[in-house]
Amino acid sequence: MSVTTKPVNQKAWFLILPVFICVAFSAILPLMTVVNYSVQDIISPERRVFVGTEWFAAVMRDEDLHAALWNQLKFSGAVLLVEIPLGIALALSMPAAGWKASATLVIVALSLLIPWNVVGTIWQIFGRADIGLMGATLQRLGIEYSYTGDALHAWLTVLLMDIWHWTPLVALLAYAGLRSIPDAYYHAARIDGASKFAVFRYIQLPKMRGVLMIAVLLRFMDSFMIYTEPFVLTGGGPGNATTFLSQYLTQKAVGQFDLGPAAAFSLIYFLIILLFCFVLYNWMQRLGQTEKEGGHD
């Protein structure tokens, strides 16, 4: 099939309209409120002073924010580095058909279905050295493990929890991508004498590009906004070891009622995610541009 371009049709906007209205209702008005706050000093609901970009400047200088941002970047990077390869490996090792495939799919998806605060709570117990399976096991193996006392342990526990919680998302997407590769590709590769690695590198990986893009972006966005689980598990501690951006934001907005700075911070936060996603999105688009043009199946 040769590359076909989509016909231009401005009426298509009517099809977009419902989505536009729904999302705009939930996004644009609140966003405007946030923008409005971010340029005012709200002393009381009746008394507001326009302060321009003062909050933005203040937020940008905030040392705590820098720490939280750095923490966040390390965490999101680690999440992607572990979950994407692990999810792919998992998808590759899942059975293709039959009751085993069904059972595996359901078991793998279970962790996705648990409310986030429950996830945190389970791990809170699970990791405790006195009464939790993981904590007790580590203890018995002679590791002095404490996610409440040791900053590194806390960080690793949050990471492990996230891996447990979200790798299935990557795996499900990658699995679906793998299943859509026609058998002929595997046959041809066998005829061509391709090694297992070559099959992965030249067939499976390129064919999974699309779903992996969804997976990478989703995991990046969501890990960058992670709030509930670490909040429940560690409360951000010990110290600030597991205080991520959204937690810091919530502390500001809810805890200290600094609406102006919190709003400014929200916007900066949003722009950071947007920037990263934009870069990732374009990078991955370009990475496989030619593949996309040619995909007939």
Binding site: P18, S93, A176, L217, L218
Partner: protein, 270 residues
Amino acid sequence: MTDRRFKKRTIFLIAYLIFALLPIYWMVNMSFKTNQEILSSFSLLPQAFTWDNYKTIFTDESWYSGYINSLIYVAINTTISLTVALPAAYAFSRYSFLGDKHVFFWLLTNRMTPPAVFLLPFFQLYTTVGLMDTHLAVALAHLLFNVPLAVWILEGFMSGIPREIDETAYIDGYSFPRFFITIFLPLIKAGVGVAAFFCFMFSWVELLLARTLTSVNAKPIVATMTRTVSASGMDWATLAAAGVLTIVPGAIVIWFVRHYIAKGFAMGRV
């Protein structure tokens, strides 16, 4: 050769499944214990097996109504998400129009907004329009992240359907709505299944917005659970039982869409 390779994969898979199940096993284990037992000793199986935690949930209205509330707004949300996302995804996959790429990316950006950012504005907005503490409020708020996702997934599926099918149908005299419902929709039902699962899941597990926008009448199960943290300490056992029960509806949903996932999700994007 192949056998050994197969074995390695199976061992890896089993290892992962065990890793995936251990915390869940621990939760189930806890749900059959008393709080006292949970906190006092380490045991792989409940020593004093009890159904009390489940009884609490099924007999206390504030508990079980949480499930009902959650199911209601999740159902509303999933229905609205799919209904609006289907035509939009069709437009994105079939036509180019002014600003299409920008709108598509703008939709995605809504998925990138930390819910924490919107907590307060949402609260104010829904108070103003009088939707506070209704199922609809939560359902609408969750559209923010579910609609973009649904559009994204469905667009992938639709791009995999050759455009000749549309053209043939128009030549045969089908109107757009009739074509869409009787011909196109059955072709992408796998996509609809997968999109529905993801909408269900993300709406079901979201806590921040759901808790902020409800107080009594529409209080979701995720918020009810936070009740277990009280002045008298954590009610671990009931929370664990509630957690086990929250998995059930989702597990049922995934059981229904499992074949769709296996049969080639995202054919177009691949």
